[in-house]
Symmetry: C2
Subunit: 209 residues, 2 copies
């Protein structure tokens, strides 16, 4: 940020964070070795410790960086719902596909896997992603749905609940099908899943005539 931080060599910080994520994602926190991260970042081990102090801080900052990325991508997907034309199913499907893509992103799976694994040891990280990512996204989606309800396109009493159910229908099937993020779901299958989810959602919340 401030110019005097870039004295000496180039800033290796980002390289280290990238490598750290790659190794943490592949091996899990306890099995990830700092030497390996340093090697993968093309950096001396001492440099890692210069930047981050210790392994735990490195882990925390890695997760935080990923969360920011995830939040941005998810909000962008939800924002697509602003441009609903007259074809609500098509618009919902478009958003659904983008949300599913976010969810199926390898980085996203890795983040979720790390959180699952390390929640007992690092409860604050869960707080961070929950409050910093999941909740804002759910909020944004609920807001959009409320708007659509007000315009009479769907019949929704509780927008937060509707958002929760839409999300569940979209992402629930992904866990098993992707084998906990191990298997890559082909695009066509993702599309089918999304369309089914949207169909069920619309069928449940169709406006009463």
């Amino acid at each position: 940020m401030s110019p005097q931080l870039n004295r000496g060599r180039i800033d290796k910080r980002k390289d280290i964070l990238d490598a750290a994520f790659s190794v943490f994602a592949r091996e899990g926190y306890p099995q990830a070795h700092v030497d390996q991260i340093a090697a993968e970042a093309g950096v001396a081990k001492a440099t890692v410790y210069n930047h981050f102090g210790d392994k735990e801080s490195l882990f925390r900052e890695t997760i935080a960086a990923l969360s920011e990325r995830a939040l941005a991508r998810n909000l962008a997907a939800v924002a697509l719902l602003a441009e609903t034309g007259d074809d609500l199913p098509a618009a919902l499907t478009k958003v659904g596909i983008h949300l599913v893509d976010c969810y199926c992103d390898p980085q996203s799976w890795a983040l979720r896997r790390l959180l699952y694994a390390e929640t007992p040891q690092f409860p604050d990280l869960l707080e961070l992603t929950q409050v910093g990512v999941a909740e804002p996204v759910a909020q944004a989606l609920a807001d959009r749905l409320a708007r659509l309800a007000l315009e009479g396109h769907i019949d929704i009493a509780d927008p937060a609940l509707a958002a929760e159910h839409l999300t569940a229908l979209l992402t629930g099937p992904l866990e098993a099908r992707s084998r906990f993020g191990t298997r890559r779901i082909p695009r066509l299958e993702r599309k089918t899943i999304t369309e089914s989810a949207v169909a069920t959602f619309l069928s449940a919340f169709a406006p009463r005539p």
Copy 2:
């Protein structure tokens, strides 16, 4: 099983498996120490190695034992759908509550957490639980739903898809609300979640008049 296996002292095998699960669940596989497991089982470390050979085998057998338990409990829950009276919503809610209880069981969360964490290292375990637990349960639920569809209580084209969506509606909200299994969801909240899920499901698959 065979009587000559019980020579010498009592069979400590079960004690070890219980302690192993408890420690694995609390600490995760890499952080779980065999000494700790032995201590918690009230057994010498050598005894653990006598029974299971090494830490990895102990882990595998622990997971396998838990999967059996999970399968039995889930199938029992689904079986309740056989006794549908004339009140379909009530019957579905009853089954839903039992399924949600299974899903929220601390052992169940621990199992899921371990699978998430260790899937890259032990892909075969995922296979085991997927093929041995998730699929049979989904099958059984789909069968039951097909039956109800045939009897005209609901309008379902694809029972497998309907089962997938019902499961998603029931369990999807649990992940965030329970903070990845960290927080215990009170019974009342579980009931509310289940009722909402069933309501949305029935609304989506209500029979066309």
